[in-house]
Amino acid sequence: MSEAPALDIQGLSIALPRSAERGFAVENLSLQVRPQEIVCIVGESGSGKSVTALSIMGLLPRALKATHGAIDVGGENVLTASRARLRELRGNRIAMIFQEPMTALNPVLSVGNQIDEALQWHAANGARAAPRKRVLDLMESVGLPDPEQLTRSYPHQLSGGQRQRVMIAMALANEPALIIADEPTTALDVTTQARILRLLRKIQRTHRSGILFITHDFGVVAEIADRVVVMRHGRVVEQGSVDEVLRNPQNTYTKMLLEAVPSAKPRPARLLPKAEAPILTTQDLQKTFSDAFFLRAGRKVRALDDVSIDVHRGETFGIVGESGSGKSTLARCIARLIDPSGGEIRLDGEEIGNKTQAALRPFRRRVQIVFQDPYRSLNPRRTIGQSITEGPRNYGTDKGAAWARAGALLDLVGIEARALGRYPHEFSGGQRQRIAIARALAMEPDVLIADEAVSALDVSVQAQVLDLMERLRDEFGLTTLLITHDLRVAARLCDTIAVMLNGRIVEHGPAQKVFLKPEHNYTQALLAAAPKMRHLERAATEPSLRAKRSNPETNIGY
């Protein structure tokens, strides 16, 4: 390939402010993206991957300064370009696709107008032949249904996947040399993610743009990358073709990251004492959200539609589904954070679904929940010791005993007991999630609900927390209700899996059976859409990943 690269970064260093714990956000980074090539930057949070993307767009926050190196886009150094020139370059030569399409699109403009605006601003003056036709063509090319109708729609009327397609259409508007995609599929469901990745691959064939794709997910890398750059603490630790890096990683950090990715293989079945009556059951559980007010009949949404599950003592019960499937609503109903609209919840045979808050008090301590966001689930103004002991103190444990136990629990989840007097902001996300688990365990619950408890964590940290949960389960026989959108996480821990779609359980059974012989076609679609790591487990002599990828034109529909 003798073509000039679309992006050529040479020796880029970006300094952090003095107060930061390391000197550089990005240090001596060099990489190239050629036309029609997809280069993935992979790294965990704090690796400098997003800062790299911002610096290419000339959008670095004021506190950060590029101190060394050059970023060459189509023969022009972005770092030395004037503000006016940068504005021309953005959109014309460089385009960006963001993680969260809802916030990246303007909510008060129709999507047709927004795509048209991308054209208006950046196309050479006078060359705007038939802009409307061009808008429709663009929407057609990113696979948006019925473009004619959709141009008049507003972002909130589209699904997440459609919004991301609109973003991609805007990025493509001026045939840029380089498209930067910053975690473009992270906020999307797996089935939607699979379609967007397929779209990006299709674009790569028909357009000349090079794509710099930023992600934390090796599954996505395996699906889409031509070349891979692995970053850690602002430095490149490994760089090479997707086959080299994923099949034969040289660097220990890359190896560790790859090992931390849970495979979608279900765990071997465990022996569970099933003879007992289930500890937790729901019978035809319903939850209806409605915006009815006073005498006005409102719109009703059935978030839970006759959900019945049986969870046995010591079992890890997985509830898998995409956003809006009702899985979190189910968790919050069982924890009685919200009131169910109908049906029964029984804990050890006792009906708890329609108890009043006062009557619920003795029951509360028996079901504990760990939330998704480790940054918001601990009160920032209270020490972690205060947070962990809050529950036991509510139930009359005396102060000394509660704090002693809190120390022991911290030790159990792998944090030094003397950290009890520290505040949450002094801990990393993974540590905070362990603290949240310690807080739940302090109540000595019968059932632990983990509501997407590892979804917000980096993959290596995720592996550690999953290990901890497995260890706790094996040691204490803890019954766990694991709510997740990630089939790989469910496969790692669950004995039983229920798949939810639109508030209903569509498939339900032992993990082995659900993963290996899925019956419902939605389960099959979910499994097909999950980013595949299984390519990697085969011998390195097999055809390359790129050759093996399915034809982008095929649909997975269900």
């Binding site: 930061a20 529950g391 139930y395 801990f427």
Partner: protein, 299 residues
């Protein structure tokens, strides 16, 4: 068996807790320093008025009417020969007291109503409609009506100014409560059986403090101005108690020949209100999480 305890990563020392760090940053904000300095000086002048004033502020001296500022009467005299300097010093007491009292009443009442409305959804609609009703009445009109009904006096004026400020505070607190009560840490507290009053006290109330400090300073400044306006209109503090407002009201007729009677108290009102507002702005900047946490986001 437990995993080897890993050392937790201490990013900061204990002295760098967010609250301590913010408190230090406060003193680097010029608005806060200016506001606090000016208010302290005025407060000291007001407290020491009895010693600093050289003449009784209500002593009538017909022979010394409308004298220009001089060595005897530092800020001149008004049309009854009363010493403007002494009157302004004593007036500071009334103005500051009214500002502080109104802010306290409005914040305390608004806080309680806001907490209740935000947390107990049953009462929300009723309480907030009442608040909307109060807000619909123009402040000055309400104050004039109340003073007319129950007679002029410091207490009446304070209550009359405080009532229309309550809904603003209540709305602010309610909005904070509504967003904080959805935080997972509040749900976690419900999950571990913490009673509602304790949840409010431990987990919700601390989040309202920053916006309340800011709202309180604005209320204080507004109250000082409103008192001046009411007194100027003759519906405020009775004339035998000097306040910045009624000093100016009385100086109105003689403004063209003796401008100092209005200028000096006017200057004090302007300076105090400016100081309180600048202090409020500074506090808002420092306490606004988007600004204060700006650095954390970069990590």
């Amino acid at each position: 068996m437990s995993a080897p305890a890993e050392p937790f990563i201490a990013h900061e020392t204990a002295a760098d807790l967010p609250d301590v760090r913010r408190a230090r940053a406060l003193w680097r904000n010029p608005g806060v320093v200016f506001g606090v300095a000016v208010l302290l000086i005025i407060l000291l002048l007001a407290i020491g008025a009895a010693y600093l004033a050289n003449v009784d502020p209500i002593l009538l001296r017909p022979r010394f009417r409308l004298r220009a500022p001089s060595a005897i009467a530092w800020l001149g005299t008004d049309q009854f020969g009363r010493d403007v300097y002494s009157r302004v010093l004593f007036g500071a007491r009334v103005s500051l007291f009214i500002g502080f009292a109104v802010a306290t009443i409005a914040v305390v009442a608004g806080l309680i109503i806001g907490l209740v409305a935000g947390y107990l959804r049953l009462l929300d609609a009723i309480l907030m409609r009442v608040m909307d009703g109060v807000m619909a009445i123009p402040n000055i009109l309400l104050a004039i009506a109340m003073v007319t009904l129950s007679g002029a006096g410091i207490l009446t004026v304070i209550v009359a100014i405080a009532i229309p400020e309550i809904p603003r505070v209540a709305r602010l607190v309610r909005s904070v409560v509504l967003s904080v009560r959805e935080e997972p840490y509040v749900e976690a507290a419900i999950g571990v059986g913490t009673p509602v009053p304790l949840i409010m006290w431990r987990h919700i109330l601390p989040n309202t403090i920053a916006p309340l400090i800011v709202q309180g300073t604005y209320t204080c400044a507004a109250a000082i101005l409103t008192e001046a306006i009411l007194s100027f209109l003759g519906a405020g503090i009775p004339t035998e108690i000097p306040s910045w407002g009624n000093i100016m009201a009385e100086g109105r007729q003689s403004f063209q020949i003796a401008p100092w009677v209005i200028l000096f108290p006017g200057f004090c009102v302007a300076l105090t209100v400016l100081a309180v507002n600048v202090l409020g702005d500074g506090l808002r900047d420092m306490l606004d999480p988007r600004i204060a946490r700006g650095m954390d986001n970069l990590r």
